[in-house]
Symmetry: C2
Subunit: 209 residues, 2 copies
Amino acid sequence: MAAPIDFYFDFSSPYAYLASHLIEDMAAKHGRSVVWRPMLLGAALKVTGSPPIVKVPLKGDYAGHDLKRKARLHEIPFAMPPVFPIASHAPSRGFYWLKRHDGDLAVAYAKAAWKAFFVDGTDISDKDAAADIFATVDQALFALEKPLSREAFRESIDDEVVKGFLREATDRAIERGVFGAPFIIVDGEPFWGVESLPMVDTWLERGGW
Amino acid sequence: MAAPIDFYFDFSSPYAYLASHLIEDMAAKHGRSVVWRPMLLGAALKVTGSPPIVKVPLKGDYAGHDLKRKARLHEIPFAMPPVFPIASHAPSRGFYWLKRHDGDLAVAYAKAAWKAFFVDGTDISDKDAAADIFATVDQALFALEKPLSREAFRESIDDEVVKGFLREATDRAIERGVFGAPFIIVDGEPFWGVESLPMVDTWLERGGW
């Protein structure tokens, strides 16, 4: 079995959200799985000295238009959230806490959190909102000894050990050269941006060039 | 005949250079021509507050790798020039001076200048080098009353009227929202980056979506 694809993202990134709707089918086509790796993009932007794209003159307006256009093209439900950008600590920490219990459940949570943010407009930076979303995930689909509670999820967000998981995931991503979202690493080869997905597809097809 | 496609670029942009090898065939496929519009990207970067990509930590290294990878994928001759980035006033002014005589000759010059810079490593910011490149362009292919001299080209670079052409082209590009290179505008619809070319292709195919 070939190595999985690393999918780096920040829950606040709409381009990463769009990529999340496309990457799994593409990976599966090539017999690859996807490892979801939420991180704090702000830490990477500090290294590059870049503000969030929406705050950049000209580019911010372009991105707002381009996101809606790409969502329509790929038929992905999408609306810019009323509160944006957000600090994504809450869903990211919850994700890493869940991942210790069940990786697939963590991914199911990530999808639910993104739907809440980019479709329903919920501010997922709010710790209680992030936990409420977890309570809507159907845990019967996953191989857990017993269901995880909303309360345990909510507590994980303030847990020092869990905070460390997210810090470490972010540091490790930056060490690997991640400077934007989405960022995909395939067999050590880095690809930035949802626009790079067709190139990732070709890379997987040919095994590089 | 459908409206031509606007192709904005800075002679110093390697991503725009790669796009120049792909855009004309794509446009022709849809019965469109391409209007080449050199500009001073530095003025746009001043508006967005961005440094040139090669000077950005992490992103600069990525771009260096990505450019070589994309050049190999599309089989485009490419080597990062020893002097980079450059101020592109000389070839850009020469371009706009030529354009007043013959638009196709100006494009032929642009291609020659880019080959000199991104294949042969010539520093085309040098006014004499920019003029020497013009002297290598075969003018017999174009509908000129009489050939234009290397000396006239060289003088155009310091001509106040020609300087004004470039300033105006740059101002007008920024007014239209151009913040990076390559930047393509199709029937008013903006597309940034060589990675957007497949989306431009689909846009032309469908007439938007």
